[in-house]
């Protein structure tokens, strides 16, 4: 019906995959292999990363702007930030980048069972990280309230925003598991690729945020 031999924009129509119409492991594997550039979903998540990256750049910029406007940092009377434990925790969280990448690799191969396994393991690590950090955040907040001074203001806002992004990623993964519980489609595989990139972003971001916050304990 659509003229398989017609050449448009340098490629035969018959060679071009109808990607999102593909459902089932074999069809998804074939469709993704025949695609030569990233999907719109990947571009979409790149826009999210760009936008959120600027938001965090503004917050981190604010942290250092306030730091260089004050003689003491943290401000007098504020507790120094923890250093070792947050770094260990973010190192553990970062392993989920590998797990998510493996899940995406499995989806490309149409291996639905493996996708589910990697997603569940990643979700466990991410949830563990978030549960500990959220509890710790609550404890810290009770000991030193956010409304003490400019240091506590940016400290908690930056850390809270980072935790919120981890939480959002967890919601994404719950959604992915819900989707993959019902089989595999290219639409779901595209979403998995996008969310994998989101996690790469969040993990790098968390390193930068933790580095920024712990820098207050140095010098």
């Amino acid at each position: 019906m659509s003229g398989g031999d017609y050449v448009a924009g340098g490629r035969r129509l018959g060679d071009v995959p109808r990607t999102t119409a593909a459902t089932g492991p074999a069809a998804v594997r074939r469709a993704i292999r025949r695609r030569t550039s990233p999907s719109a979903a990947w571009w979409g998540i790149l826009m999210v990363i760009a936008s959120e990256g600027v938001l965090f750049a503004a917050m981190i910029g604010t942290f250092f702007y306030l730091r260089f406007n004050n003689v003491h940092w943290p401000l007098p009377g504020d507790p120094e930030p923890k250093v070792i434990l947050p770094i260990v925790l973010v190192a553990i969280l970062s392993t989920t980048s590998v797990l998510m990448q493996l899940a995406w690799r499995a989806a490309r191969a149409g291996a639905l069972g493996l996708v589910r396994v990697f997603l569940v393991v990643a979700l466990v690590v991410q949830s563990g990280y978030f549960a500990y950090e959220a509890t710790d955040f609550g404890h810290e907040l009770r000991a030193t309230p956010i409304d003490r001074d400019a240091y506590t203001s940016i400290h908690y806002t930056l850390l809270g925003a980072d935790h919120a992004h981890v939480f959002l990623g967890i919601l994404f993964n719950v959604w992915l598991l819900w989707k993959f519980a019902r089989g595999i489609t290219t639409y779901r595989a595209n979403a998995l690729q996008a969310i994998t990139w989101y996690w790469h972003f969040v993990n790098i971001l968390t390193w930068v945020v933790v580095g920024t916050i712990t820098s207050a304990a140095v010098g």
Binding site: M1, S2, G3, Y6, A8, G9, G10, R11, L13, V16, P17, R18, T19, T20, A21, T23, R35, T36, S37, S39, A40, W43, G44, M47, V48, A50, S51, E52, V54, L55, A57, A58, M59, T62, Y65, L66, N69, N70, L75, I146, D147, R148, D149, A150, Y151, T152, S153, I154, T157, L171, W175, W178, K179, T185, Y187, R188
Partner: protein
């Protein structure tokens, strides 16, 4: 020749089948659930016109108040709310949503040869959030607690200590809410431009309007988060007692200004660059000539926004920033002249070298160039730091930026309304009233804004609700007010002409101007599927490539490249435009308006400090998102 009429009975059948497949739900409900970029563009158009009327009414009240000295039409407090709401409305609720939301949404997929945006449901969501944020902000005006510290809302004036009401909370949350909508639009445009072009439309064959939209979208994507961070900090300072802007506790009032203008200056270019895009479409159509220096103009459109990110501190010369910083930002500001001038020369040369026919759209573009040059010349004067410090916070500034934002950004919007009216409605507008509306607007605008340069130089400060007699300002102010009313009359004539033309205008046919770009190859108004055959593209002026259009007609007759196996759209490689995928597109969806509604409730609860209730509605928002994704496009 366009494919407005099917070349064979078989082609007619194919077009009918496509129409059935792409037509959304009929009736009023259809407007709520639509994902058609054209319908969303029209929703944006009508909504922004309402906000334009509101912002215009606010301006007229202010001008009436200032018509003579010691006037007492409004109180100082009301005047504060009026100028704050006027600025916020015109920037966030008129120009940006009109240029990107209305013009961009309607035209971008058509110019790219696509059947819809890359993410149609997200596109609908951006509109509904825009509408919800407007309702949110204007609720504050109805309740008498509208923002009242100006559109740039400087602290410490905007802090709780000096502005204890809910006014600034509405500002912070309204701006954040609106930013979500603009960010969605920006992301949508960039992905659509990279992925949804017709195969063969490599980047160098993309129309200049699309380059302008890419520049504006890129600017929005990178600038808005800075404003969001700024307003989040202010909301926290005001409501949970943080100290970002409180000098006594280690904060900084400069921080607000830096973050605001890091956003605010690119914002000016975001406002104007779509106007450049409109100009670069109208000029070739009305001169029947390709735009001179096409690659330079494309680069200049992108460069204006890029340089715009490095000039913010020229808004802060009067704050006592170090001289070396001021010199750096002055030099960066001077650089903006280069891409701006490239475009002005390119537009003028195209008109000189082509056969210019000064129909109403081109008249508006000529008026735009005239006022852009005046606004540009007064803008470049601010590079001279002592001069800037002298005129800061006077009417000279108001004159300068209204020449840019009204003369240069809004005139092309008016020109664009006339230019694409036949495409959107299928009717021709009345030419003589159109030309009269231009001249009234041109005279009114210059009467309104030019004397502001003079009163500014004479020392009249901005944002004063009145002024004493005997200052030598009264005559100029009266002329400005008269200019304001003439401008309003011009706008009423323009809208009236378009409304009457819609009901009584002659049929336009698909291509009344012999326009250059793809939208003129389809019927007026375009069918729901835009193009029966995915169009062939060999240049940036595809409607003038007769052989390609003949090939499209032949393809339709034989059923090649019609893509009617589903709700299908092509996707291409981002740079070369190589055909890469056929993707299923979503159908109508009730979820976008529902999601916007739940977000509206979240924001209302936040402004009322009912954080628990806000949390509950936030959970509702997440559940709505799950509902949204319960059905995939190929399952419909």
């Amino acid at each position: 020749m366009a494919i407005a009429t099917p070349p064979t009975p078989a082609a007619a059948e194919r077009m009918e089948l496509l129409a059935k497949m792409w037509e959304g739900r009929p009736g009023v409900l259809g407007w709520f659930t639509t994902t058609d970029h054209k319908k969303i563009g029209l929703l944006y158009f009508w909504t922004t016109l309402v906000f334009f009327a509101a912002g215009g009414a606010e301006a007229l009240i202010m001008r009436t108040q200032l018509a003579q000295p010691n006037e007492k039409l409004v109180s100082p407090n009301t005047y504060d709310e009026l100028f704050s709401m006027h600025g916020i409305t015109m920037i966030f609720f008129f120009i940006i949503p009109m240029t990107t939301g209305a013009f961009g949404n309607y035209l971008l997929p058509l110019m790219l040869g696509a059947r819809d945006m890359a993410f149609p449901r997200m596109n609908a969501l951006s509109y509904w959030i825009f509408l919800a944020s407007g309702i949110f902000l204007y609720t504050s005006l109805a309740l008498g607690v509208a923002p009242n510290a100006g559109w740039f809302d400087y602290v410490p004036l905007a802090s709780r200590q000096y502005d204890p009401g809910r006014n600034i909370d509405f500002y912070c949350l309204g701006i954040i809410f609106n930013s979500i909508s603009s960010t969605l639009t920006a992301a949508q445009f960039i992905v659509t431009i990279f992925k949804s072009r017709a195969p063969g439309m490599s980047f160098n064959r993309m129309p200049l309007f699309c380059f302008a939209m890419l520049a504006a979208a890129g600017g929005l994507l990178f600038a808005l988060p800075l404003l969001s961070a700024d307003t989040i900090f202010l909301f926290l300072d005001r409501n949970i007692g943080t100290h970002f802007y409180d000098i006594a506790r280690g904060g900084s009032a400069y921080l607000w200004q830096h973050l605001f203008w890091m956003f605010g200056h690119p914002e000016v270019y975001i406002l104007i660059v779509p106007a450049f895009g409109i100009a670069t479409e109208i000029i070739p159509a009305f001169t029947q000539r390709r735009v001179a220096a096409f690659p330079l103009v494309a680069i200049a459109e992108l460069l204006v926004v890029f340089i715009g990110f490095g000039v913010w501190a020229h808004h802060m010369y009067a704050t006592g920033i170090p001289t070396i910083t001021a010199i750096f930002f002055g030099s960066a500001t001077a650089m903006v002249v280069i891409p701006s001038t490239i475009q002005v020369f390119a537009w003028c040369m195209t008109m000189v070298l082509g056969t210019a026919r000064f129909g109403t759209p081109l008249l508006f573009i000529a008026g735009f160039i005239f006022m852009f040059v005046i606004g540009g010349l007064s803008g470049i004067m601010f590079v001279a730091i002592p001069f800037d410090q002298q005129v800061t916070d006077t009417y000279f500034i108001i004159a300068h930026f209204h020449y840019i934002i009204f003369g240069a950004a809004v005139f092309p919007i008016f020109g664009g309304m006339y230019y694409w009216f036949p495409k959107v409605t299928g009717k021709l507008y009345y030419e003589l009233p159109g030309q009269i509306s231009f001249w009234i607007l041109f005279v009114g605008t210059n009467l309104l804004f030019f004397p502001m340069h003079i009163v500014g130089l004479l020392g009249m400060p901005r944002r004063q609700y009145t002024y004493p007699s005997g200052m030598g300002w009264s005559g100029y102010n009266l002329v400005e007010t008269i200019g304001g009313y003439i401008t309003a009359a011009g706008i009423i004539l323009l809208i009236g002409n378009l409304v009457v033309s819609y009901f009584r205008g002659a049929p336009a046919g698909p291509d009344p101007w012999h326009g250059a770009t793809l939208e003129w190859t389809t019927s007026s108004p375009p069918p729901p599927y835009n193009y029966a055959v995915i169009p062939k593209v060999s240049s940036a002026y595809p409607n003038w490539d007769e052989a390609d259009r003949a090939e499209d007609r032949a393809k339709l007759a034989e059923g090649t490249f019609v893509l009617m196996d589903g709700h299908e759209q092509v996707a291409v490689t981002p740079v070369d435009g190589t055909f890469d995928e056929v993707v299923e597109m979503p159908h109508d969806s009730p979820w976008p308006p529902l999601l916007a509604l739940s977000l509206l409730l979240v924001f209302f609860m936040l402004v009322l400090h009912k954080y628990g209730a806000a949390g509950i509605f936030a959970v509702g928002t997440v559940l709505t998102l799950f509902g949204w994704h319960s059905k995939e496009p190929q399952e419909a």
